[in-house]
Structure formats: C-alpha cells, structure tokens
C-alpha cells in the first residue's frame, strides 16, 4: 500500500521535536527503518526483512525483529496494521491462506523456518498458537488437551497421556475447575475457561514459543486477568508473542513492545520505555490515544 506513506506524509513534516528530554522522530515512514533496538541477545526467533503479500496487497513491509526467550513480546497497533499477519508468519499459518506470500528470513534457533528441510508440522509443534476467539475442538475436555500429544506421539501409554493432560490443565489453571468433568465437551465451558483450555492444549505439546493473537478480546475483565496472570507464569518456560489491542494489557504483561503501523514496524523497545518515552511520533500518538 503506497498510499500509507502518502497518508501519513500529509500532516507529518520531516522534523524533530523535543519531548520528555528525548528526541521524537517525526519522519515519513520508510520500510525497514525501525526505531529502537530490534535485536536481543540469544534470540529464539530472529526475523529480518519480512515481507508479506496477500495477492497484490503488501501487508507487511521489511519487518525485522528478534524474539527473546522467557519474555513476553507485545505487538500493538491500529487495526489492519499487520501485527496479526506478522504473528502468523512465525508458525507459517499464512501458508493456509490462498494467495499469501511470505518473503525474508525468519530464523527459529538459527534455522530458517521456510527452509525446505523444515517440516511445517514440526514447526507448529515447536511454535504453538492461541487464537482470538476460543476455538476448542467439539470434543471432550480431555480429548482437546490430549489431541496434540496424540498426533505427535508424545505419550507412550494411557497413563503418560493422563499425566500430560493433568499437567497441562494444571499449568493453564483450569484443572480445579474441570477435573470432575473431563468427559464433558470443551465447548460447554465459559469463554474464559475455553481460552484457558486452548492454552492448555497448546502447552500440552510443550512448544518453545507460544503465539497469542488477541487472546483476551472476547473475554470479560476477570477472565482476562486470569489469562494475564497465566502468561506471567508461562513466561518462565516459554517465549510468548502476543498481539493485543489493549495498550494497558501490553503494558501489564510484556517486557518488550513493538508498534506496527500500516504494515511497517515503527518502533521496538522495552515496554516501560515505549509507554513512557516513545521515540517516534506515530507511537506517541497511538499510545496517547490520539488515533487508533
């Protein structure tokens, strides 16, 4: 979308002004020019020059960012900015969309996930995903959690499988609520419980990274708080990348924040720094609620 550049170019002059004793860049967007430090030490994911096209539409432009281990990376930005699209690159879910094309390098533990030798099934076992709308399978609670271990052959016998299911539900904070009705359908749970079931299902295959696409947007504040607590605990074992519309949520759960705008990654930084001291005008406008 070339118009993106023009749109923002109308009222933004190439200048710099002083705010909070820091320089705020107020430059027209240039693809691949991200403000802030995109690299981290010992990253699990390392993405460089990632472009995504949906047919003729250029949805993501030259995005480069690292994902750190044992951290929550929040991706924020107005609707249609490409943050979900970028998230879906990380476990190649965009493969399933007709006409979608991903370019650039995405390294998981130093290996390109688009490499011919990289099996997409194995990739998704390593990089789990939790979706916006809770989407448990129309099967029992037990079967929902057992499905992943089963297809990947993680459990040798029934006892081991029971153990995995118990452990996963426990860590997703759902065990106490469902232990007496494991045979009930997963869809009979409340929205928040369903989302925690989806998280339990994801951690049952013991991934290295968990991608969360607005996991709380369909939930009430109490259920949201539970999921956020859960993320803090899960962060000890997994790298988490979360897309969220709520800046408060990003501020609460994440250690690093990335701000996307119309397919460009505008700014990346420590969450505290981004919310108190944004360096790009667009980031500042967004987090202060001037648009978005």
């Amino acid at each position: 979308m070339e118009s993106a550049v023009e749109l923002t170019g109308v009222n933004v002059k190439p200048s710099a002004r002083v705010s909070n004793d820091e320089v705020v860049l107020d430059a027209p967007i240039e693809a691949g020019k991200t403000v802030g430090n995109i690299t981290v030490a010992d990253p699990i994911f390392s993405c460089r020059d990632v472009d995504v096209y949906y047919g003729a539409k250029h949805a993501i432009k030259k995005v480069g960012i690292d994902v750190a281990k044992s951290q929550v990376l929040a991706m924020i930005g107005p609707s249609g900015c490409g943050k979900s699209t970028f998230l879906r690159c990380l476990n190649r879910m965009n493969d399933t969309i007709e006409g979608a094309r991903v370019e650039g390098s995405i390294l998981l533990d130093g290996k390109d996930i688009h490499d011919k030798k990289q099996d997409v099934v194995q990739l998704r076992a390593r990089v789990g995903m939790v979706f916006q709308k809770p989407n448990p399978f129309p099967k029992s609670i037990y079967e929902n959690v057992a499905y992943g271990p089963r297809i990947h052959g993680l459990a040798g016998d029934r006892v081991e499988l029971d153990e995995i299911v118990h452990n996963s539900l426990q860590r997703a904070g759902l065990w106490e609520e469902v232990k007496d009705r494991l045979a009930h359908p997963g869809t009979s749970l409340s929205g928040g419980q369903q989302q925690r079931l989806c998280i339990a299902r994801t951690i049952a295959v013991n991934p290295e990274v968990i991608l969360m696409d607005e996991p709380c947007s369909a939930l009430d504040p109490i259920a949201t708080a539970r999921i956020e607590d859960l993320m803090e605990e899960l962060r000890q074992s997994y790298a988490i990348v979360i897309v969220t519309h709520s800046m408060q949520q990003a501020a609460r759960v994440s250690q690093r924040t990335a701000y996307f705008h119309l397919g460009d990654l505008i700014e990346v930084g420590e969450t505290d720094r981004i919310f108190t001291n944004p360096r790009h005008k667009l980031t500042e406008d967004y987090i202060t609620g001037r648009f978005g």
Partner: protein, 435 residues
C-alpha cells in the same frame, strides 16, 4: 437546504409517515403468510388423496384368497416306485393331487371340460406348494390333510368384489358353474382372504396371484447398497479433494461447473452411458444390480459432491486453524476435525441422492433391468429388477389382478424409502455436534 443542522421534518411528521407505511407492511406480511398456508394445504390435500388412492388400491395386494382342500398325498401319483427318491418327488404331477382334491369336494362333477373348469378354481402354483410340502416332509405321502392353497386370480377378484356378477357369463372371467362352486366353497368356509405371504416372499410371475415383490426388493437392496458403497466414498473423497486440497485455478473451476451441470443431466442419458461403457465396452452382465449401481452412482455423485462441498465450506475456519496450529497435518485436520463436523451435511446430500436413486427407473431400463425375472437375485451379478421398474412392469400388464399389485408395489417402495431415510436420519443425528 439552507439550514443543514436542523432535521428535515419534525419527529411527529416522521412518525406519521412511518405509521402510514405500517399498515402496508403488515398487509404484505399477512398476504405472504396466506399464500404459504394455501400452498401447504393444497399440497397436503393432494398428498393425502394420493396416499388414500394408493393404499385403498394397494392393500388388496397384501391379502390373497385361499381355498382349503383336503389333499390326499397319493403314493401312486407322487412316488410310484416307493424309494422316496428326491428327483422323483420333485418331478411328480402334483397338479393331479389338486385336481383330485377339488373333485373330492365336488363329486358330482363329471366330464373333461367340467373337470378342467373346476381345476381352474385353484391357482396353477398350488401344485408347487404341495411339491414343497412333500419334499420337505416325505412322511406325508400316503396321508391326507387339509391344506390352504392359493385360489386362482379370478376367484380372488370375485372374493374381493372386483367381478360384477350381473355381467353376462362370457364377459366374466368366471363361468356360472364356477360361480356356483365358489359360492359353495365360501359358504363352507373353505374360501378365505388370508395374508398374502406370496406377495412378500416371491419373485415376479405372469399370474397375478403368484406374483411377488421380493425379487424387486432384493434387486433394489443390492443396487442401492452398491450405489451407496460406490457413491458415498467417491463423492466425499472428491469433495474433500476439491475443497481442501486442490488448487483453486481455472481447471478446478471447469470441474466445478461440470459437476453442477451433471446434476441436471436427464437420467436416461446416464443409462445410455452405462449401456455403452459398462456393458458394451467392459462386457459386464446385463440386467445386473452391479451395473445398475454403477449407473446410479454416476447419477448420484454430483448431488453428493455438491452437498459435501457445501458441508465442508460450512465448517468454521477456527476449527481448521486450531488443528493446524496444534501441528496437525492437513489430512489429520480434515479427518479428525473437519470431516466429523461436515458429516451431517454430507449425509443429507447422500440421503437425497439415494432417495433419487431408489426411485429411478429410466436409466435402468437402458441396461436391461426391465426384464421379466422370476428368480430372486442371489448376488450382484444375477439378473434382477428394482421396485420402480417392477411398478412400471405391473402397471403395464393386462391382467386385472396386477392393478392392486401395482399399488402394493408402490406401498412397498414407499416403505423401503421410509426405512432407508429413517436409518440415514438416525445416523446423521449421531454425527451432529455443536461447535
């Protein structure tokens, strides 16, 4: 337009306009409801009339007049050699036993012509019943027992009130003499309407009282089972491939258009295709349920494919994403999650297709399933006919007795349909799940 900040009209004016329109809207709704109700009532009354006619005509087919005769199993007739050889027992002249039994009932009858007239009261198949009894139990030979035997179709028609006694003798199938005998038998209680097991257990016959529907039922059963076994897996697999795996390009568009068009091709064309390809080219047997099923498969495939694709499309994408996100391969996603959810829709399509296949006769005429076949088919390559073709055959027969057989066959066809669809609906219910 000079002051755009003010509404164009006041709230009261707006309400007045809305109120004026309300009446019209309600009228439109009421009118539409009336049309709908009228259509339903008209349709239902035609249906009720149709069922009434079929059942009132057809119930007669399930009851058949039988005559009670005291049969003497004469060893001189059955087994003159006395060694109880099975072949001899089969070859004996049982007609003579029937004749003798009738003569015993009416000892006053004398002369060849009169005896022949008398023997026409019993059905030609009565002798087969006796043969069966004797072969099953040779101990009967030399004994005497009362047996209920099939009466001829003319006696049956009289008993059911289809023959006008006031007509001159040459216009009736029964002579005055025969009428008297029949009345005498009736008065003795030796003539009765009994449940017609022959109709439900025998194959076709040229004689109405011996004609049964079982051959056609078995033929239909074989044909439909094979059709289901062929068309359901092929249809569902095609739908899955086209919907989930095939690239969307011009070729798949062409295929899709063609499948939709095939659903509208007249069925007799499929019959011609089956004749040319399956019978003429591949040399498969004529009149066989196997070929019939292959033709009907071609006929039902488009229906099943279209319904199955619609069912697959209706599975929410969130379930697919959930499965793929868990690391399921595409085939695992389809088999574990998408297919079970799409199954009710697929079964609906299959029910529609199978119901159509059950009622289809035109393409089967082309491949020879219209032949007169007495034997019950034992396998899928035996000659057979199917229920709708049997209906067609009987409706075409000149004998008066076949009229009620035709309606009876329609009742059996409808019962077959109801059983088949009920099974399918129960099956579908078991697959239905919430998501």
């Amino acid at each position: 337009m000079n002051n755009t900040n003010k509404p164009i009209r006041s709230a009261q004016e707006t309400q007045a306009i809305v109120e004026r329109g309300l009446q019209r809207r309600y009228w439109a709704e009421r009118r539409f409801r009336t049309y709908g109700l009228a259509a339903v009532v008209a349709g239902m009354s035609f249906l009720v009339y149709l069922f009434f006619v079929i059942f009132s005509n057809g119930m007669g087919a399930f009851r058949q007049t039988q005559v009670r005769l005291d049969v003497f199993y004469d060893p001189a007739v059955i087994d003159p050699s006395g060694n109880r050889n099975r072949d001899d027992l089969l070859a004996a002249d049982y007609q003579a036993l029937v004749r003798a039994a009738l003569k015993a009932k009416f000892p006053e009858v004398e002369g060849r012509a009169a005896t022949r007239e008398l023997s026409r009261l019993a059905s030609g198949s009565a002798s087969f019943d006796l043969q069966k009894r004797v072969v099953a139990d040779p101990g009967l030979i030399g004994k005497s027992e009362p047996v209920w035997l099939l009466a001829s179709d003319a006696v049956d028609l009289l008993k059911k009130g289809h023959i006008d006694r006031a007509l001159p003798a040459e216009q009736r199938p029964l002579s005055d003499q025969q009428l008297q005998w029949t009345d005498k038998l009736s008065a003795e209680g030796a003539l009765a309407l009994k449940f017609n097991t022959t109709f439900l257990t025998h194959g076709d016959s040229r004689e109405p009282e011996k004609a049964g529907i079982w051959g056609a039922v078995v033929g239909s059963f074989f044909t439909l089972i094979l059709t289901l076994l062929l068309s359901f897996p092929i249809g569902v697999a095609s739908a899955i491939y086209l919907e989930e795996f095939a690239r969307k390009n011009r070729w798949t568009d062409v295929i899709e258009v063609n499948i939709n068009n095939l659903a509208a091709v007249p069925s007799i064309v499929f019959g011609l295709l089956g004749l040319a390809v399956f019978i003429a080219f591949f040399g498969l047997p004529r009149s066989a349920p196997l070929v019939g099923a292959m033709v009907l498969t071609l006929l039902t495939l488009p229906t099943i494919i279209i319904a199955s694709r619609a069912a697959l499309k209706a599975v929410p994408p969130s379930i697919r994403e959930a499965a793929l996100g868990m690391g399921a391969s595409k085939i695992q996603m389809v088999m574990h999650h998408v297919l079970p959810l799409a199954m009710p829709g697929m079964l609906t399509g299959t029910i529609i297709g199978m119901a159509r296949a059950l009622g289809e006769s035109a393409p089967l005429l082309m491949i020879g399933m219209v032949a007169f076949i007495v034997d019950i088919p034992k396998g899928v390559t035996d000659s057979a006919t199917v229920l709708p073709v049997q209906v067609y055959l009987w409706s075409d027969s000149p004998e008066r007795g076949f009229t009620e057989k035709t309606s009876g066959a329609i009742i059996v066809l409808l019962a077959f349909l109801v059983v088949m669809n009920t099974t399918a609906v129960i099956l579908r219910k078991r697959f239905e799940r919430r998501w």
